[in-house]
Symmetry: C2
Subunit: 219 residues, 2 copies
């Protein structure tokens, strides 16, 4: 999923006393997370160094190591922050009671596309990026990334159940399997949109995926 609006505040995990050189520790933490999300959704983990993050966040090295043991620890904190941010994005689309369930999914994909468009389709999904790089990442990233994807899938499966309950989706679909297929394809579409720097792959995916609904409900 693309990064649309980075969360203004994220959970903090201070480790030692107040960091030297950071007059507002909370602000420094936020700046680091924000810069990390911006850089890693665009370039992934391996190609981004801590120095690049410090420079973008305008935060001294001491502040970074106040909050994070090392780059790997920072990476895990970014996954957590992205998860928090994403939960709110999904709330906004999936809990919109004025829309039918499948329209809420479409709202989500539109919001995601708008988020990518704001950054010229250069930023993708943190989870997709790190998932692709997993072979080069610390092994505890794996469970964190799978956990986030499973959360998104559970919420999407719930949406499909609601769509079945109101007759928008045929009962012969397995909501969990369909939700998994949605996220597999959607991550593929984000990857491709980022590669091509345009929204067309997102449309191509949603159009084809949407046929599952149309063909089944029209039977």
């Amino acid at each position: 999923m693309p990064l649309t609006d980075i969360p203004p505040s994220v959970p903090q995990k201070p480790r030692r006393g107040r960091p030297r050189g950071a007059p507002d520790a909370s602000l420094a933490h936020q700046s680091l997370i924000r810069a990390g999300l911006e850089h890693l959704t665009e370039k992934g983990y391996s190609s981004v160094g801590v120095d690049e993050i410090l420079k973008a966040a305008r935060v001294p090295k001491g502040s970074f190591y106040h909050y994070f043991r090392n780059k790997a620890d920072f990476g895990l904190a970014l996954i957590e922050a992205y998860d928090t941010y994403f939960a709110r994005l999904l709330d906004q689309a999936f809990l919109d009671g004025s829309l039918a369930p499948l329209a809420r999914l479409r709202l989500f994909t539109r919001m995601a596309e708008e988020g990518m468009a704001r950054h010229g389709f250069r930023r993708g999904c943190l989870v997709g990026n790190l998932g692709q790089e997993m072979g080069a990442l610390p092994d505890d990233f794996r469970a964190a990334l799978i956990g986030v994807l499973e959360t998104w899938q559970r919420r999407t499966a719930q949406l499909f159940r609601e769509a079945q309950a109101c007759g928008e989706l045929s009962a012969d679909h397995d909501p969990d399997a369909l939700a998994e297929a949605f996220w597999i394809g959607w991550e593929g579409a984000i990857l491709r949109a980022k590669l091509e720097l345009r929204p067309d792959p997102l449309h191509s995916f949603t159009r084809t995926f949407g046929r599952h609904f149309v063909t089944r409900t029209q039977e």
Copy 2:
């Protein structure tokens, strides 16, 4: 697409005279390409250094710079070699005249899965990996990666046309759009299988994608 069997020989682009320290230049080139494909399908581009490739290929630095100006040039050569290797893999599945068109696509996905299984689902698709990393790669990688994906899609669209001609696929599908959706989803499935180190995401994708055929042909 996962790397199954790396091509025994690949096109060579010697630049200067015979490299010093490499008794068999052709063998050195092959070793470099092979090591590059092995490492980059697992770890991507950014996290793998030239020294790691030299060590794996057991080739001196001079040989590397005989064939490749730099790491970026090597990366482009790997995309070309992967394209060559992949063309043969697609030939093997898509030109199998003993099978109906859609069975050839299923053969391809099975072969791909077997290829991933041989390496414990740690190696994915070079094109997917580099596509995901594009924000950190030299810009001429973009056209090369899109070009390869479009070639795969054209071949797959042709297969869908054959499936339509023999009544396996409804005529109301746009073969090009369906082929694009296949590759978007398949790359997403490879990413996810690599993340989870298991084939389940591949099955989840092919099952859901396959419903396009079933629902349409049974109408």
